[in-house]
Amino acid sequence: MKEIKVKDASPMCTLAPDTEPRIQPSSSVSEDRKCSSISVKSTPEIEKKYVHHVYDAIAPHFSSTRFAKWPKVAAFLESLPTGSLILDAGCGNGKYLDAVNLPYRTNFGDAAISIAVLHHLSTENRRKKAIEELVRVVKKGGLVLITVWAVEQEDKSLLTKWTPLTERYLEEWIGPGSPCVRGSSSFTLESIPETEENGLGGHPKDSRVSLTENMQQSSCSTPQNEDDSMVSRDGKSQQEYFVPWHLPYHRAEVSGASAGALANGLAKKDDKKGAVVYNRYYHVFGEGELERLVSGMDNAVIVDKFYDKSNWCIILEKTLEG
């Protein structure tokens, strides 16, 4: 049937061809003193460069790789009454992402979902704001499902393929308003990634590591947690990463955005793989972090929380109007 797309945070309305048309629009805290006081709704540089621009370039390719079903998301949707109106904030393959400012009336929806979106927001305040927005746009009694990438990945080798971001790196590249990076590991190693987030490509795992001239050399003596998560020297978990996306050359030519990205250093060519490699900024979530983010909210309560395929998930219920 027909699609309504609202270019913004993404909402996409679809009418399913079955008999249950469901509109699914296809987005206190004391801050660490190192964070700037820029408006929480203003997009930080790191997100402009390593989320917005990247997804602008890769969106069609990214879209074509979205095939996996998310049973837990499906179950959530199916648990809602027939004819429910559901907002899906962040459903547009990353283009036009602006989860901290949803252009919808308060209390309108029956439910909202935010699937693998909040981990692209670079400050705790923005992540909180995004959750507040999701709660704002649903009615009292409405449910909100949020899923984010977990530090505790099922495939532990995946973390070694990501580039951990250090504070120094962030300040150089991102400038004021950079994410509050906990920990102070002073090395950055660039791994050559082999597999994408969905395990496409089927390349054999190969954790070759190379040092680029931009990166600081250091001994790789990062202590590991019991669960093998990366830890920086002061013992806190590494949660800020660049996660690569390989855009095949033939796709890059079509989108046209890659020439500029290569010229200004936003992306690199990997001739061996025939792909332009983009880095996407992620703040992966630790166990309990989603709960902590919502603990200060006075208009929502947690009704469920679970871990599902390397994602931390939470379901909130709005308890007060407004």
Binding site: V6, K7, P21, G83, L85
Partner: protein, 124 residues
Amino acid sequence: MRLLTHNMLSSNIKGVTKGFPLKIEVEKVVEKQVEINHDFLRNIFPKIDWKAFSDAARTMGYVELPEQAPDPSVLESDLDFLTKFHHALLELHLEEGALVCPETGRKFPVNKGIPNMLLHEDEV
């Protein structure tokens, strides 16, 4: 953009207290048929701000809706009403035009049926 969507959109520019409803500037309206579903209409009816909806329909050239919100009982069996409600809510599309913030006058363009609600840096 359907009028269902218009009924939930609000201007979220910084400082705006009443960003709903957005005024509609019409350049091109298209009608696209879609199968009627009475249960859906009954569920959505209480959410709709009727005045905004009927005004918007009028702007789009459709004058069949009552200006006042009807009693919900019409949804039970008034087929004529249900058809008109369905038509205005889901079958009229603003393909080209703009949505205008009622407080600031800022225009959000609508192209190929898609409203662009993205704010500029100075609007957040």
